[in-house]
Symmetry: C2
Subunit: 460 residues, 2 copies
Amino acid sequence: VETPISLAPLLEARSIAIIGASADPLKIGGRPIEYLRRFGFTGRVVPVNPNRDNVQGLTCYRSLVDTEPVDLAIIAAPAAAAVDAVHECLAARTKGIVLFTAGFAEVNEEGRSVQSELARAASEAGSTLLGPNCLGTINAHNRVVATFTTALEAGALPAGQFSYCGQSGALGAYWLDKVVAAGLGVSKWITTGNEAQVTLADGLAYLAQDHETRLIGIYIEDVKRPEVFAAAAEAARAAGKTIVAIKAGRSHAGQLAVAAHTGAQAGDDARYQALLDDCRITRVASLTEMIDAGRLILGEVPPTAAKRLGVVTVSGGAGVLICDAAHDAGLVVPELPPQVRAALDGILPTFVRRQNPIDVTGAVVSNTAMLDRIIAALAESDACDAIVLFFGLMNSIKDDIVAAVRNARLSGKPIVLIWMGSSQASRAAIEHMGIPVFDEIPSAINALAAVSRSGGRRGP
Amino acid sequence: VETPISLAPLLEARSIAIIGASADPLKIGGRPIEYLRRFGFTGRVVPVNPNRDNVQGLTCYRSLVDTEPVDLAIIAAPAAAAVDAVHECLAARTKGIVLFTAGFAEVNEEGRSVQSELARAASEAGSTLLGPNCLGTINAHNRVVATFTTALEAGALPAGQFSYCGQSGALGAYWLDKVVAAGLGVSKWITTGNEAQVTLADGLAYLAQDHETRLIGIYIEDVKRPEVFAAAAEAARAAGKTIVAIKAGRSHAGQLAVAAHTGAQAGDDARYQALLDDCRITRVASLTEMIDAGRLILGEVPPTAAKRLGVVTVSGGAGVLICDAAHDAGLVVPELPPQVRAALDGILPTFVRRQNPIDVTGAVVSNTAMLDRIIAALAESDACDAIVLFFGLMNSIKDDIVAAVRNARLSGKPIVLIWMGSSQASRAAIEHMGIPVFDEIPSAINALAAVSRSGGRRGP
């Protein structure tokens, strides 16, 4: 297998130049400078712009060759100047180059040939070139923020274990926004755009060996080097990491749109599905599904390899819908073994059948203690791999529900919790324990199924 | 076709007794009294309880026969007393009876035969019996709130055009919570429980002729009188109403859970799908999907019969995912006709391809006026039935986006708007125009497809 191109020059840079630096922190050439400083990058930041002496309070250089070599150069120049800027970087022996500029392979064949030439030059010089037509990269741990994404405009950038790699920068931006909103932390963020040199496969290879990454979300329009990709996926898996993917361009119209977007060929979907299956990569249909799966995987006890669900519900109707959603997602709601049914005899009201889903009915309101006992009976049983809890509203016993979830967590069995119309405080209390709170049945069950499909092997 | 049982005695009652009335407004026999008064019911409220003279400030009677006849009696008595209470109502010539009490057909055959006997007696007396094992009914317009659902504990009850009918009271409660949270208004709310006498079909027949209802969400475990159901669905359709359904019990486990829940037989799903198809009822998989479809149907220009989508996106990747979601949902993203492509020549930057989805790229930030012109070109074209707009973040041009949506609305073409990471203020401004704001691609496109499937005929 071909050696992947290293993303270390991008993600581990200690000195960063911005070519086309702007004094305006809202412009493409201004944002990375503002972000690097606001998010606390401690290395050197070097604005480059022949028309300025000072940019955002920093000394500005006419050219990259006028200052000490930097690890990474971000090119925010317009298309006409971008090609020269890349050659300027290579002349200055810059090891990492992020090329934001659009207008290459996604426009026409001339653009494709120009970007190929840039990639060839970068490879010859031993440099790593990200883009063109990309939104750059982020390392939330060392605060290398080499992007102009507006997702960071107002928001925070909490460091964590969830990384993104994808051709689309905009979807990466929405991913960032949603990940932070979900209370998860970010590790690395890589947008590859037109992939003149660095491709998804290289990004994945970096993330596979990155100790700060435990979960990888990828957005795929095409895979240009499938062998590198497959080897990287295998390495990630061997390191106990989970990969969740959106593969775009399933439809004919979507394939045309891919070509217009990054100049890629989305190709036959069945072939891609086979590649993802070979790599044991779980496919999801949206960012929300990706992040929902992430909430479970990064939670207290990830339900990897959970196929058989023990269900406890306060609503019979919800229990039915959980069965249907589980069936659709390839999961099972098995019959309860005799021991569990016997245990339930001592717990449930006489009028409730001893079957899975276990419908505690409104009777739970006057006897919340039954929750602990039912959950314990399921937790002790080998008949289920995960416990699905369904609550709805029930403000009057909300603290008892939170307490029951806290106890359930101690059982060590994966818990998937759906609570429609929960209070914000209850939700926060439960998520603080590392158990995500879902508000809808199919989204929770689909997230569980995605995590289950991602397979059982975990950790080194 | 058999005549449906009238729900008028329930939903149009001017006097309401509560048998098993409680002084505690949080108890099952206390909540309906508290709700009737808090939500402004202007008719007579009559607590009945042999052990009390006064309940929540109202004179309490020993028995229903001790006071003037009432239109509706709510029975909140425990199972042992419930059967006598029904006979007490029939003796007092009460035309409407809501029986909350559980413990009948869902428990065993004896319970089934007891509830059948009650239904027979009610029918002989010409009375309407809802339940047993139900959460009652609501008419949000005349404030008949004959339920103990906790969904009304804290919340408001805005009157509107969206009605619910379903066997599950709990799912009805979550529906209420979600409908109000979505900013929609409620018309009628009917939970049928075990359906000893009144079934879904009767509820649907009432809603079909109800002038305050325009959209009907139903939750189905079984359909006991398919001919009445089909006739009611046809009447609703003829009156320009849309029906959106969740059919529960697709899976084997789900079918077992249905039997435990309401004693019903969920039956062969293919047969139910055929019934729904015959009735032109759109099926959805969750309450969220039901309410998302409702947001479009009750919006400014419902995209009924919209198959071909004109897509405008700020993200190429999102455009691809919209194509894929449309394909999955049976919708089409067609090629643009020459006139539209010619119009785009004068609007789009040279590097953007003139194809559908129309990717305005980041260029829109410095030229928001292009949005109006592109949307106008699509609105004037016969090549698409609805316009899908995708935005993400873009806080710096949020007011221009709101303005563009306002202009798009004037075109008269249905608009489906997805804005990931929008500000709350922008979202509120757009929803105030009657255009729902979606935050995710598949949910928006699936809602559009559900509304499209519901067919074109609308309102007299």
